[in-house]
Amino acid sequence: MSWILALPIAIPFATAVLAFLLRHGPVGRLISIGGAALLLGATLVLLTEVVEHGVIAAQMGGWSAPFGITLVADRLSAAMALITAIIALTVSVFAMGEIGEEAESLGYHALFQVLIAGVTGAFLTGDLFNLYVWFEVMLIASFGLLVMGGSPAQIDGGVKYVALNLISTVMFLTGIGILYGMTGTLNLADLASATDTVDQGLLTVVAMMFMVAFGVKAAVFPLFFWLPASYHTPAFATSAVFAGLLTKVGVYALIRMFTLVFDNDQAFTHTILLWVAALTMVVGVLGAAAQSDMRRILSFHIVSQIGYMVMGLALMTPLALIGAVFYLLHHIVVKANLFLIAGVADRITGGTELSRIGGLYATAPLLALLFLIPAFSLAGFPPLSGFWAKYILVRAALEVEAWVLAAVALAVGLLTIYSMTKIWAGAFWSPHPDGRDPSLAQLAPATRAASVWPIATLAVVTVLIGLFPQPFYAFSEAAAADLLDPTAYITAVLGAPT
């Protein structure tokens, strides 16, 4: 069954090639949707396999680990791949209603699928250098998507995005070089034990290089500035998939490296992570409070929410890791959805600047309802998914008597409500300043369906996680147990220790 590991990477790549060949005309977007649906099927099979049989690994090209490139899926990787597929499917449907023929003939769908391949590749690889390659695949595709259209704001945001992400890339590469020089291996499972016998001081230095490299990708304080500079400039479908997935790949890489490889000097590394988490939460939410554009508010909230996930990793207790995993899964769905809603709001009201739009509650009540679900979930209202995610994390903080951290997490939750209320008041509650009556009926039926269905689907997922948290909690619990005790992961890759 190990071929199932390669499918989530191969399917988007094949789709990208097809979509590129057929980029002129309406077939391309259908191919993109079809590819995403296939990906969803493949990742579902992968997840069931992992849940039933435990961690699975495959050696590419028949070179046995640690010499070849390993693909490996534990619960966390498989679940992240599944969520990626869900976002890919919903966003590619949404793109039908937004992405014009010009962007399509430039290869929008092909780039989108390459981006998805990079994301699933990063989740499923078990090799550090391979992880670097997937990061680059993801990065180059995101560059293309970000500046597609070429408006001055896009180019301006693009320069900052590209510059800071390239620094992170070089940092990552240098870290890989030094780690290889110290241990002689780049296989993650092999590194887990190889790092125990090397110079621990130098190892901590390398760990910090990785923390900076992945910290830029994950947009943590003080490395997040590229995110609010660029995420509000591209097409809404593009910023939704960025908001949902890209920073979370950074968080995933942080979680993977700092539970499996860099777990030797936790008193030092995880204390830094703790500070980073608290400052990320606070600075992100304060940044959002100062903004008046819907997408910029949401962009700063990505930063703030990343803080919660890093907090779970930094505490490093079983409950905290459960919280981090739960938060990751819930957040991707909610955040992508909010950006999609901003896209619809932009289309029917003529902008995302809150002072210039309004009236959505009176004339588009369906959209208002669909906004409230992810917005309240983001802020942590019961019984939505965000409530459980925050509840677990705050409880984990209280358990280890990290009172200040718990207080910060709760206060940031309150400020999140403030931002969501601001969007609600500006875009939904107050009348439109130009006296327009924005309603979904303005959209052509096909566009309306392509816009509303993805949003509704993601909202249903949010509500389901909120109403039936038990299976998701149990899953996160098992995933966190895998992270804390990586024996199964190492055995699956390297074989049983002799």
Binding site: F143, I155, D156, V159, L173, G177, Y180, M182, A229
Partner: protein, 119 residues
């Protein structure tokens, strides 16, 4: 030889950081290019250097006789050079577009996406 290359890496990295501190995006890009070369070189050195022994295995043998050069870092560096070249080419075109559209490459003046005073 390793220590000599390590010093070279250090000089490259230092010049790169100096260039990247500049406000001009062009200088920043040149700095980035130097820095990525420093990273490539450090991977190469990390694999330890063996002079004049190609990693070739005799016909019929399972392993090379005696110490040979480590081929893995060379493969890694080759991959990294190719990727770095692609990224740098993209960044160069992007900066050129930025110059034609925005009319400046001073980081302080590039505020279209983030206006100082949101109207």
């Amino acid at each position: 030889m390793e220590s000599l290359l390590a010093i070279v890496v250090g000089i490259l990295a230092a010049s790169a950081v100096y260039l990247m501190m500049a406000r001009s995006m062009m200088r920043f890009l040149f700095g980035l290019m130097l820095l990525s070369n420093a990273a490539n070189l450090s991977i190469f050195v990390a694999g330890r250097l063996t002079e004049g022994a190609a990693p070739l295995i005799e016909d019929g043998a399972e392993a090379p006789a005696g110490a040979v050069a480590n081929a893995l870092p060379q493969a890694l560096v080759l991959t990294a050079i190719v990727i770095g070249f692609g990224l740098f080419a993209f960044a160069l075109v992007l900066v050129w577009r930025a110059w034609t559209i925005l009319g400046t490459l001073e980081a302080d003046d590039m505020r279209i996406a983030e206006p100082k005073d949101p109207a």
